[in-house]
Symmetry: C2
Subunit: 173 residues, 2 copies
C-alpha cells in the first residue's frame, strides 16, 4: 500500500528530500513523476540529472515564484498556472502509471493564495491506494496534516543566505 | 565557495534530502561521495540508483544500526566501524576529488556514543573551501550547529509507522 507524505516548514530540504525519495524509487525500477508548481527555471540540477535516468519525469507548470503583494497584477497568470498543475496532477494520479507522484511547492501555491485547500485535499483523498503521493511547500494546513500519513516539518535553524552566502549551484538548485 | 550543511532532528527526510542534494550536484556534472555510517544494508534504492548514474559513489562503513543499551557487547565493533568511516572521510575530504561529500548518519553515530564530538568538528573545520560537506543524523550538538553554515531540523509531525504502516520499498529505503 502506498502512502501520502507532506514535507512542510520554512527550512531548506523539502524539495531535496522529495528528489531523494524519487531517486530511491527509481533505484527499484519504479516510475516517478514530479510536477513543480510555481517554478519555471529549467536550468536546475534535478532536471539535468533526471534526463540521465530512466523513469524520472519532471514537469514544471509554474510561472516563476509569485511574490505576495508586490505582484498583484500577475495574480491571475499564476493562478491559471497553478490550476494547470492541479489538472495535470489529477490526470496523472488517475492514470495509474506512477509509483510515486511528487507535487513540489503545491502547498506554497496554496499558502500564497493561488489554489484552495480543497484542491489539495481532493488529491490526497483520491490517490489510488497502491501509489505514493508526496507534497512539498510551506504552510501545510491542519486538514492537510490530518489527511496525510507522514508529515515532516523542515525547520530552519541556520541559513547561509543570512550570512551573505549566495545559492550554490549543485546544492541549492 | 562551498558550504557545510547539517540535517538533524527526529523526523524522516534527512537521508532523502542528502540524496536529493547529491542528485542536483550530479545534474551539473559534479562528483559526489556518500559515506553511510551505521548502515550496512546494500539492498536499498539509493545504492541501486547510484549505479545507474556516473559520479555518485556510496560507501557503507557501518555494521548495521547499533541499538543503545541492548547491544553493549558489540559496542567495540560498532565503534571500530564508525572510526573507519571517520578515517575514510578525512582521506576523501583531503583528496580534492569531490564537489560534495555526504556523511550520512555520522551525527547519529555521535549521539549513540560511537564517535566523539571532536571527530565531527575537525571534519567541518578542515573541509577544503571549495567543497561542500553534508552531515546527517539525530542529535547535532550546539558546537556542530555553530560550525556549520546551514542547519535544518527535520521535525516529526506525523509518522506512519505509528499507524502500523510498515516501511515502503522505494520510499523509505
Amino acid at each position: 500500500m502506498g502512502i501520502s507524505i507532506i514535507l512542510t516548514g520554512n527550512g531548506k530540504g523539502k524539495t531535496s528530500a522529495a528528489i531523494g525519495t524519487a531517486f530511491r524509487a527509481i533505484g527499484w525500477g519504479f516510475n516517478v513523476l514530479m510536477i513543480q508548481f510555481m517554478k519555471a527555471d529549467k536550468d536546475i540540477g534535478e532536471i539535468k540529472a533526471a534526463k540521465k535516468l530512466k523513469g524520472f519525469e519532471i514537469i514544471q507548470t509554474g510561472e516563476g515564484f509569485y511574490k505576495i503583494g508586490k505582484d498583484i497584477k500577475n495574480l491571475e497568470i499564476h493562478q491559471k498556472a497553478a490550476m494547470k498543475g492541479i489538472d495535470l496532477a489529477v490526470e496523472k494520479i488517475l492514470c495509474g502509471k506512477y509509483f510515486l507522484i511528487i507535487l513540489d511547492e503545491i502547498i506554497t501555491a496554496y499558502s500564497v493564495g493561488l489554489i484552495k485547500e480543497e484542491d489539495i485535499l481532493v488529491l490526497i483523498k483520491n490517490k489510488q491506494k497502491k501509489m505514493n503521493l508526496l507534497l512539498t511547500g510551506r504552510g501545510a494546513s491542519k486538514k492537510m496534516i490530518e489527511f496525510a500519513d507522514l508529515v515532516t516539518e523542515m525547520k530552519e535553524i541556520k541559513h547561509p543566505f543570512k550570512k551573505g552566502i549566495k545559492a550554490v549551484k549543485g546544492i541549492d538548485y
